[in-house]
Amino acid sequence: MTKSQIIHRPRTESDVAEIVMDARAAETPLAIEGGGTRAGLGRPMRAPVTLSTSQLTGITLYEPAEMVISARAGTPVSEIERALGEQGQMLPFEPMDHRALYGSAGDPTIGAVAACNISGPRRISSGAARDHLIGLRFVNGRAEAVKSGGRVMKNVTGLDLVKLVCGSHGTLGVITEVTFKLLPKARRTATLVVEGLDDARAVACMSAALGSPFEVSGAAHLPGAVTGESARTYLRIEHFPDSVAYRMEALEKLLAPFGAKSRLDHEPSLSFWRDLRDVGPLVRPAETAIWRISAAPTRAPHLTSAISQTLRGQWFYDWGGGLIWFATSAQGDCGAGAIRHALAATGGHATLTRAPDDLRAVLDVFEPLTPALMKLTRGVKLSFDPQGLFNPGRMYAGV
């Protein structure tokens, strides 16, 4: 991203509204930034003025007995997690930290987690950021402060704008405050590791585990090309200690047909899933392009097999096969043609999550939409931001 000349760091929502009001009058686009650790996510953009939420901080409400937390958008995720940890709670969707992937510095913010719908391995069992974001305040492109949702976990009052803004990468409004619902942090974690499965067999193994009554909360597969040794399939159980012990036994029995197994206990399990969450197995070398591909698990092995006919790369699976991280050479179209050709047959979509700015500027970073969905997308953008002030072109050229 081209750095802006001017950076605003508002401390209140009304300051945000004033900055947007000025941008509106001057017809000057704004780059919306949290901690700046995810600048590489989305299409690079040019905006003369940056609006940073880094000074818009602080937890505004935390009720452990209600499992709900509210915070201003610029609050560091680390501060949220520290507060939750003290009460034995967590953000259930396990948001990824992009710093290793992008080699970026700074503090990831809770507002960016909402703006980019950032989840992690537990998405498979507990849902994504968008499933836990129950309330939002944001300033729209008319410089109006808007509220949607609230602080209660069941709320169907009016249109759910929370979902639209979540994952809109700052293109619909400047988020000023977020409210998430929470879960208790599991007292114990353990991981069952199955050795030596090929991709298709690994997905079958993960499907069997995720289709079991044992509430597997993480299911990932690293092919041999990634581990450097034999392929490994990882299945996580999180619960009270007695349940973890019982469920690990039961799962091991259920998966007997899939061959040899080992286990990761609590601490190694925690560090394995943290690293996997942050795409640790593929972040180096830093020069590769990295795709994030979403597809139905049973079709994922066909997809990687089809892609690798024409494109050299390495990959691993999360979400029981439903999420593929694919690393390839950052040259030409970074494999966009091969990947999207394969997707046409399997369904799903691909996002170019890491590539140099000059390539992301000319490639479709997000999967192109059908004309009917693109029309709705443009309409939604205009309904929030009629002058196109926020993060212009971040998701699609001209939106």
Binding site: A65, K154, T157
Partner: protein
Amino acid sequence: MAGTLTIGYINGYNQGSPVSQIAFPVPDSSILARRDEIVAGLARLVAPESLVTTEDERRAFETDALTAYRRLPLAVVLPRSTEEVSAVLAYLHEAGVKVVARGAGTSLAGGAIPQEDAVVVGVSKLNKILDVSYENRVARVQAGVTNLGITDAIMADGFFYAPDPSSQLACTIAGNIGMNSGGAHCLKHGVTTNHILGVRMVLIDGTVVDVGGDHLDANGYDLLGVIVGSEGQLGVVTEATVRILRAAEGARPVLFGFDSSEAAGACVADIIGNGIVPVAMEFMDKLAIEITEAFAHAGYPLDAAAMLIIEVEGSPAEMEAQLSRIVEIAKKHGVRTVRESQSALEAALIWKGRKSAFGATGRVADYICMDGTVPTSKLSYVLQRTDEIVKSYGLRVANVFHAGDGNMHPLIMYNVNDPAEQAKAEEAGNDILKLCVEVGGCLTGEHGVGIEKRDLMHFQFTPIDLDQQMRVRAVFDPGWLLNPAKVFPLDHRFAA
């Protein structure tokens, strides 16, 4: 089980003309005058058995579970395919005719009540389960499939569809998507929006769009997120891809009787505070216990002032362990009785009692059911104020609700044949909903706004908040033809 359906018949067709507090728009006389032409146009698009035109037959579609209000629609179409829905909407759009989408008509908020100048497009003939994948844990269904129909089809293999509104025997997935329905088990599993991965939807001009699919995250803006809960204002959903889950090894509801609502409420907060999230925690007050026990004979503790139904799940040993943790906590809050279900039959009876609470109440009185959600820390205060409010109108209230998530369901009892009493009941209901908003909650947790709470939206949202929602709505339906008099106050106009 089908409490909401039952009351439609019990409260149904016996009243005179109640005082209507909720306004309907004046029908467009030019549309009414063109009725024959419009019906003829529809007849060219669908088979005769898919078109309902006689007054007698249209009567069946004039209301939903908010039976105090009814309007006879211009005509009713029950298409058999997405293509037919598309042709019908394209035609009505061209003709400038309003459209009210309908599932099974079990809305408690009047979400499916038509108006005289609108055509009802019902999805009841779209009732096939198209595909089930246990490997991918998804099912693709036509939108007129019932909620329970999905679970019934996959239960033998140990799977289920999680959201479980009390009307699940009758209500459709289309209606669940429209209202973002919840149920007793959302504390653990979440609501409809957490379980829909994709929809096929027909826009008002007949365009068919596929939003989402069988993968887990959105491509681009989360349009699916705003479609779920949009109360039929954005399009007509004809197919859905839903998540299905593997059932726990076992599940057991346990009854906890307390001497006061405060003690029961404090117990709920303490359970969560101890890191335990049971799959369900349901609350009933004394009157609700009496009414449902007389109906279901589920063994509810009649001597308790408040009761919790807490469901534990897992292996027998896990259920035992979780239950003993919960009992320890409940003891600290002076629990009077703890009654475990001893058999599958007893467990079913306990849930039957809870899920028929509305229907059972309908046997003793007419009622309106409120649906506000409040922060759980405010539960005792809200219960006490609810009681005071309803008493001040000279009426009675029974409380049944989802305690874990603060979703209240006060049932205000009245006599539908007494217009003054109906007006009082509605005023009491409005006061309660305002109270819910005042303490930090919302007007509706799972039933939707419909017409019932439409005019209260100003209490929860500023004009700016409503403007933003209406602008999004207008992206999908610029001519405001889809379920036009719902959700947004009729007097609220936004600057486009």
